[in-house]
Each structure stands twice: as structure tokens, then as C-alpha cells.
Amino acid sequence: MSAPTQTRPPAPRRRPGQAREGAHRQAAGARRRRAGIVRLAALLLSPTLLALALVVGYPVLAALRLSLTVTDEGINPETGLIERSSELGTQNYSDVFKGDTGDRFVNALWNTTTFTLATGALVTIIGVVMALIMSRAFRGRGLVRAAVLVPWAIPTVISALLWKWVFSTDGIANDILNTKILWTTEGFQAWLAVVIADTWKTAPFIGLLVLAGLQLIPAEVYEAARVDGSSAWRTFWRITLPLVKPALVVAVLFRVLDLLRMFDLPFVLVGPRKNSVETLSILAWDEMSNLRFGPAAAYAMVLFVYIAVVAYVFVRVLGADIIGRGVQGRK
């Protein structure tokens, strides 16, 4: 084998003189080079993998252990001091589903799910519509693209404060709607406010990703559809949507995973410990901030599994191809 050391079938290119070298020597050289590449790859990858093992791998395992650690506080009858004892057990998990804490958990699970479904559906529809509108070339496209990036670039906390202001009692939302709704207090309207604020911030981003997918569809395909007399509606359902589906599914997958761990927006827009908008992340955070690490870790692990299942469904059932393109060699 000759020179190519990178991802690629060996090219037949050879330097003059190389052909005369013995096949044996060549094979040995290739093996040595191959070993060199593997060593180089290991060298280049190890810092990243080490860092991830430290900041992701270890915490996940530690969270699992924490969630299985039951801490009891009691007064030691001999010394009269408060003592903490820890032992392994599944009590944190069984507490998740029982009694008052059980109700709070079910409520948080419900909010997390409904936020994800409602916002996920809204951003998908609005994003696709935006992408379709932007898909034709027009003057000033760069400016429109910059405008579309603005909601994405604004920190979620700032956008939450912005919407809190928009939805305040004397705010512009009530002014335009001519209502006096207390948007950011407990109730369905608080849930709705979160959905609106999140849709505003993330739909344009989906639009951009879908737009990138749209631009990969060759013009000839549309040409052919027109020649065949396909209506615009039919063309959309039969051609545009199937062809843009890979891009759309990946974009929606990432959005949905983000929605499942939503924290900043409801936390700042409405507040912690509010039933109508408490998500699993907020619930776990609240337990953690009260230093109840065991229950916090149990909630966090439940959320972790929930997210893993959803991601699995997306990849397996909807065929979201999140890494396939990353490992392809040259085209």
C-alpha cells in the first residue's frame, strides 16, 4: 500500500521507484504507518475523552450512587448529637412515586411532557413555514438571516425577563389583547406564557436548520414535479417534506431533548416551586438547593432515563441520523 494515511481506500498513485520495492517491505511499512496513525488518533482523542469522563462520566455514575444513597438524620441517644447515617437503598426512588412528593413528581413529569409536545409541535410547524418562505433567493437575505438569529442569540434568561415584562400586568401583551390577565402567576396562563416565549426563541432556529436542508434539494426535482402538473400542496407533501425530513428530524430531536431538560425559562419567567410550570429539572434543582442530594439525584436520574428513551425512539423509529455524517469518509 502506498502513501494515503487518511480515511480513504488506497489510491493507486505511486511514486516512481516505489513499484520496484519488495511487496514485503511495503506491507511492513504500511503496518508501521497504520500503527502510527492509531497511536496518533489515541493521542489526539485522549484529552477530550478524559475531560468528558471527568465532567460527564463521573457525575452520571455519582448521580446514580447518590440516588441510591438514603440519608437519615437522627439523634444519637448516647451523645445527644444529631448524626447522619447513609446506606444504600432504593427509598429515594420509591419516594418519587409516593404521597405528596409523588404528586409533585407526576405534576413535574406532566409539565415537562406537555411543554415538550406543545412547544415541539409549534416550533416544527413555524420553523418549516419560515424555511419555506426564506427558501427562494431574494435581496437582503443576509439581513433576514441575521434577524432570524437574534432570538437564538439572546440568552434564555434575558428572553425570560423580556417576556416577563411583556406579560406583566400592565405590559404590552395585556395592552394589545385588551385583557388584564395575570400571566406569570399560577395557572394555565403561566404554562401558556412559557410555551409562547420558548416558541418565539427557538422556532427561527429550526427554520434555519430546515432551510439548510431545503437548499440541498436540487431544483430539477421541483422542475419535474411542475412538468407533471403537481399542485403546490401536493409537491410540498410528496417531495419537499420527505426530502427535508432527515434535516428536520435531527433539528427537532435536538430541540426536543432541550425541551425535556427545560429549566431557565420557567424558572425566571414564572419562578421556582410553581405547580403550573415546574419541570423535572426545576424539581431536581429545588431538592438540590435544599441539600437533599439523594432525592435530587433520583429525580435527575429519572429525567436522564426519560431523555435517553426519547433519543432512542428518535434515532431508531424516526431514523434521526445524528452521527452518520460525522464518520463518513470523503464523498
Binding site: 502513501a3 494515503p4 494515511t5 487518511q6 480513504r8 502510527g36 492509531v38 496518533l40 488518533a41 489526539l44 484529552p47 477530550t48 475523552l49 465532567v55 460527564v56 452520571v60 455519582a62 447518590l66 418562505i133 431574494f138 443576509g142 433576514v144 438571516r145 434577524a147 438569529l149 437574534v150 432570538p151 442569540a153 439572546i154 440568552p155 434575558i158 425577563l161 423580556l162 417576556w163 416577563k164 411583556v166 400592565d170 418565539w200 434555519l208 436548520l209 439548510a212 440541498l216 434535516a247 433539528a251 424558572f267 425566571v268 429539572s281 434543582w285 438540590m288 438547593s289 442530594f293 439525584a297 429525580y299 435527575a300 436522564f304 431523555i307 452521527i323 455524517r325 460525522g326 464518520v327
Partner: protein, 276 residues
């Protein structure tokens, strides 16, 4: 029959609607920040008279906002540098070197970015309390790597893949080892991809909230996002929305400027990761 004209008009109306959808709330933040505090509840579309009192209030020393901006810059800046230093090598290896198991390696790296922040934060906070890292920069920087590092590796992998393979081939023919090919040929040419990735990593870390909220309780160590959510009023209103909007504009302006100048690169970076 619908003429081309009507279609063009409809299209432009659509474009206008998109721009209005994206910018109207941001415009409202800007307008509200430029009113006099006593005009806070005016709903006129243009601030009249124009006033910068809200900005003065935001930077009132009692808020510690200037220091918080500096903290945000330190955390986002160091995370970006740290993450890039690692991700350049990993991205290159995954994109350009042929070795077994690169699929699983990339899958693991991408999968880590999907882990919920709170799952990682609970045990990390537990550790940080034990080793006295509460109220330190490293307690914010290290956990921020959990989302910034996969993002950077992913983007750089996509970027390295687009570079022509002839570059390394030529280098190897000229007698470079794979390591030298990377250092002397690829790295200098990768500057645009590194830059784009830096912007994305910086924005992601600048916008981070839950980590900074949890590992810091001293005001002088808080980031801008955290301190902003805790602002109390200098004026008589319950919640100092005008001040918050002014501070919000200050926090957002660097990002909006980046978006204006680098929108092409940012979109390329974002889509290279997701769709292509």
C-alpha cells in the same frame, strides 16, 4: 390566475412577518430600556423622551452588574479556550484519521451533549461543596465543558471533513509524518473553522444559567445572567423591569453584534453540525 406579482407581494409579506416575529420582542426590550423610569408603563412604540437612566441604574454599584459582566467574560472566555484546545485535536482525529471505533467515539461525544445538565450538576455540586469550590471560577468552567466540548468537537469534525484530502497527501508525499501534516498544513488552514466554533462555544457558555446559579452564592462571583435574574429595584416598582431591560440589552448586544458580523459563519457552523 394568480400573477407573479401577487406571489412576490405575498413572499415579501412573509419575509416581513418573519423579521417582525424575530425582532419585535427584542425591539420592545430596547425601547423599554430607553424610557425614563417614570415612563416605564408607557406603551408607546418610541421612547419619548429618550433617557439612559435605566442604564445608569443597571450599572449602579449596588447591583454589582459590571463585575458580573466581567465574571461572565472570564467564564465564557476560559471555557471557550479550554474547549477549543481539546476539541481541535479530537475533531481532527475523528474527521481525518482512519482508525477502528471512530463511529462509537463520535457517538459517545455527541451523546454526552444530550445529558440533562441537572443530572450532572447534582453530584458535581455535592463534590464542589466538599472540596470548597463553591464561589470559584473553576466550579463554573468545568461543568460548562459538558455542553461546550461536545459542541466544539462536533463542529470541528464537520469542518475538518470539508477540507481537501490532498492537503495531507501532499504533506506526506513531501515527507511529513501524520503529526507534522496536522501541525504544519491543516492547523493553519483550519483557522476559520476554529473561529466559528469559538463563537458558538462562547455564545453557548455566555448564555449558561443553571450551573452559574447553583455553584455560586456570593454576589461578586455571580455571572451577568444570574445577577440579572436577582436584580432588585432602585426605583419604587416591585420589579425593576426598566433596569432589567437595560441590563438585558447590555448582555445581549455583544451577541447581536456577533450575529450581525458573522451570520454567514454562524449559520454554516450550526448547520454543519445538524444537517448536511
Amino acid at each position: 390566475m394568480r400573477t407573479t406579482n401577487t406571489r412576490a407581494v405575498l413572499r415579501w409579506l412573509g419575509i416581513l412577518a418573519i423579521v417582525a416575529y424575530c425582532l419585535a420582542p427584542f425591539y420592545w426590550m430596547l425601547v423599554s430600556s430607553l424610557r425614563r423610569p417614570s415612563d416605564q408603563f408607557s406603551n408607546s412604540l418610541v421612547p419619548n423622551p429618550l433617557s439612559f437612566d435605566n442604564y445608569d441604574a443597571a450599572f449602579d454599584p449596588r447591583n454589582g452588574f459590571a463585575r458580573a459582566l466581567l465574571n461572565s467574560l472570564v467564564v465564557a472566555g476560559s471555557t471557550t479556550v479550554l474547549v477549543l484546545a481539546l476539541a481541535i485535536f479530537a475533531g481532527y482525529a475523528i474527521a481525518r484519521l482512519d482508525f477502528k471505533g471512530k463511529g462509537p467515539v463520535l457517538a459517545i461525544i455527541v451523546a454526552t451533549s444530550m445529558f440533562p445538565g441537572i443530572t450532572l450538576l447534582v453530584p458535581l455540586l455535592d463534590v464542589f461543596v466538599d472540596i470548597n469550590w463553591i464561589n470559584t471560577y473553576q466550579a463554573m468552567i468545568l461543568p460548562s465543558m459538558t455542553f461546550a466540548l461536545p459542541l466544539a468537537v462536533w463542529n470541528l469534525t464537520a469542518f475538518f471533513r470539508q477540507m481537501p484530502y490532498e492537503l495531507e497527501e501532499a504533506a506526506v508525499v513531501d515527507g511529513c509524518t501524520p503529526g507534522q501534516a496536522f501541525r504544519k498544513v491543516i492547523l493553519p488552514l483550519a483557522a476559520p473553522g476554529v473561529f466559528t466554533t469559538a463563537i458558538l462555544a462562547f455564545i453557548a457558555t455566555w448564555n449558561e444559567f443553571i450551573i452559574a446559579l447553583s455553584v455560586v452564592n456570593r454576589k461578586d462571583m455571580m455571572t451577568a445572567n444570574v445577577i440579572l435574574s436577582l436584580f432588585t429595584g432602585q426605583y419604587r416598582y416591585d420589579q425593576p423591569f426598566g433596569t432589567q431591560m437595560a441590563a438585558g440589552v447590555v448582555v445581549t448586544i455583544p451577541l447581536v453584534l456577533m450575529v450581525l458580523f458573522f451570520q454567514r459563519r454562524i449559520v454554516e457552523g450550526l448547520t454543519a453540525g445538524g444537517v448536511k
